[in-house]
Symmetry: C2
Subunit: 402 residues, 2 copies
DNA sequence: TGGATTTAATTTAGACCCTAAAATAAATAT
DNA sequence: ATATTTATTTTAGGGTCTAAATTAAATCCA
């Protein structure tokens, strides 16, 4: 007459406590209760279990406490050494590897220059295996158990099957990367879109919390997007992120890297801006189909300094972005649109034309209450997001299994 | 030492049982258990409560049973007389009122021709109050308790506040209709987008179930859309449906009813098709800015019969639709797109151009596994959906209160 | 210095809800 | 008539939560 715990409430509450600790840092049991709408008696019970499993630890009480009457709070925090995850970011000509501990903090980070477009599928897998093995030994040296690996890539991914469908960083398509790595390293491997990783981080920041429908647009070589509904990335049929960059501005318009014409990206992606600029401006030489950060900064400088040709190019990009945004607003009607990515460097030069385009495209009733703001770009954010997503996935998995 | 039932599982299970009965009709306790993943002991307990409240009834056992061994199933069903709801559909020049019983069946339906565009806000409210009062007395005559009213309208609605933001059927904007009617009739009044109503019905049909991300496009005078995620309408910041019709095909293009240019609707809405057609074809006279069903059928006939001018017009509309669809696929990546509404009459004449436009706009990786199919149009579907939504809302409310 | 007060964490007692198993019910098969 | 089968109800018990009571650990104040 026993029963399996078909009841999910303990499971949910445990996850909520862990998530709160990871997002907000050390907290007292009372506060964890209030924050998650459960009684502190329950938090006591949950934290006892987690302590016993070594996943959390009590903070020594000598920490500077907010003075006040009453028994002082005993803060609990995630035990960093309880586990670790590795996040690998694959972007054009670069590979970043980051090790994160169980509290979600970055433990180690390294960058490698790689001619990604020249890789074959086998090359890529070999490279990933080699580099991951290296950082894994680092992690294992400090007695941390590797519980998951995350591959964060630009492009279209089928996250459920772990297949990379298409990425601007690679010259091949449809590679089932995750299953191969799972087998090699014996732990779950997630394949995630880079925009989803960043959006997951941004959504937890106080400034952007409280917006149930959030769109994060990533400007860069290409243009990506993530749609978060109540903080969780919306994955369509593909299991991929939304492809804002390939929504249309002008049927039959400019040539896009995807092979089609008229995509927003073909006007506002780095390569598109640089391509146009080279026609009329003196700019640093180099692979202008894949402009470097230095090249893009040179171009952006020109626009900021008032060069009319450069300004015209950014304005046209802003207009394309604005029309894309108009479609996003009409179809998705988000509460907040965040514009970020390395391409925000040129946002100031695009913003006015973008806003004009939105006003030209949509009646105010359809623009609704949506706010559009830009947000500074941090190159480590992708991996931090990947780490957070992976930890959350493995926590959830562990609880459902046991 | 008592506790409020903060636990939601009974609540959820009760709603699930009611929903299953409403969608699938009479069912046995065992099957309700299997269908909803709960034990039949729990179903027994839940159905005992519902029987006691008079919300369900056991079917007399003399119904033709599927022969077989063992104790026969006792089917239970929702008690139609337990409650009723009224759904009012407001569309251009027409008002439909439907009474639905607790099982979700249509009890009564009536149509009224009304020059909706000539109404003032006060006129509209007076008209609604009068007509609703009429059908309410019908319902009350059969001893049914009116538990909710649904207003289903074309256009943009803020469903949380009950404000009609903008509708093509009306010449004014921003009317807080629901609060007024709530006060007048003393029951919850929901304001819903018509596409959401229809989509809610379609999503429960076996043929379209099992698609977690479903887009329903409504062709008609204007073009509406509803996005369902796991069967529930996605409401953005506005609380409104997605406005596919006003996504852009051609910046600076054809004049749209919304006041802007280049919207998909300005090419593929009834008024847009008829406007173009009148330039080159002999067609029935009448208010060609608001073509009647007869006028649209005449135009559609011409295209079906091979008239090249008519065919060209539909092809251009299909192309606009295709580009809009491309953006929908890029941004939302639904599993299934259903095209319906009165405008499906012309779907055959648009389909090829539409498909070509999608292929022209998007690489196959971004089209992904999405299927696009049309679906026959039934003018009562909106109200049936409104009734289902309202019953579900009032059931849920009742349970959370008690 | 020592109670009074305040706040945090834990323990206790009880309610709710679910499930598996047992019991009961109601049919068909032989 | 009895065995078998399937549905429903009853029973017993476990899990989880919460409110209240208790315990713990500090400050306040005389």
């Amino acid at each position: 007459m026993a029963s399996q715990p078909h009841d999910s409430s303990r499971h949910d509450n445990t996850l909520a406590v862990i998530r709160t600790l990871r997002e907000q840092g050390p907290a007292a049991r009372v506060d964890l209760g209030i924050l998650n709408g459960i009684s502190s008696a329950t938090v006591t019970s949950i934290s006892a279990e987690l302590l016993q499993q070594g996943l959390i630890a009590e903070l020594p009480p000598d920490t500077p406490r907010p003075s006040g009457r009453g028994r002082p709070k005993t803060l609990i925090q995630l035990a960093p050494e309880a586990a670790c995850v590795i996040c690998v970011k694959l972007s054009i000509n670069e590979l970043q590897l980051v090790v994160g501990d169980y509290s979600g903090q970055m433990q180690h980070s390294e960058h490698h220059s790689v001619a990604t477009l020249a890789l074959t599928p086998a090359d890529l897998v070999a490279l990933l295996e080699e580099k991951i093995a290296e950082v894994r030994s680092l992690a294992l040296a400090s007695h941390r158990r590797l519980v998951g690996i995350c591959l964060a890539v630009q492009g279209v991914v089928a996250s459920h099957s772990g297949t990379l469908i298409w990425s601007p960083a690679l010259s091949f398509r449809n590679a089932a990367l995750a299953p191969l790595l799972t087998e090699r390293f014996g732990c779950p491997v997630l394949l995630e879109n880079d925009a989803n990783c960043i959006a997951s981080v941004l959504a937890t920041q106080p400034a952007y919390a409280g917006y149930p429908n959030l769109a994060v647009i990533m400007l860069g070589y290409g243009i990506g997007m993530s749609l978060l509904i109540d903080g969780v990335p919306f994955l369509g049929a593909n299991g991929s992120a939304a492809e804002f960059g390939h929504s249309k501005y002008q049927p039959g318009g400019a040539q896009c890297a995807c092979g089609k014409r008229g995509c927003v990206e073909a006007y506002a992606g780095d390569y598109a801006l640089y391509r146009k600029a080279r026609e009329v401006l003196e700019l640093p030489a180099g692979d202008s189909a894949h402009p470097s950060e230095a090249q893009m900064q040179a171009l952006t400088q020109l626009a900021m300094q008032g060069n009319p040709d450069a300004q015209r190019i950014f304005a046209e990009a802003g207009r394309a972005l604005g029309y894309g945004m108009a479609n996003l607003l009409a179809l998705f009607n988000p509460d907040l649109v965040l514009v970020t990515g390395s391409g925000v460097r040129g946002y100031a030069a695009m913003q006015e034309a973008m806003q004009d385009a939105i006003d030209e495209a949509l009646v105010s009733e359809l623009i609704g209450p949506t706010r559009i703001v830009s947000c500074p770009w941090d190159r480590d954010m992708t991996c931090l997001g990947g780490i957070a997503i992976t930890l959350q996935a493995t926590d959830s998995q562990r609880l459902t299994e046991s």
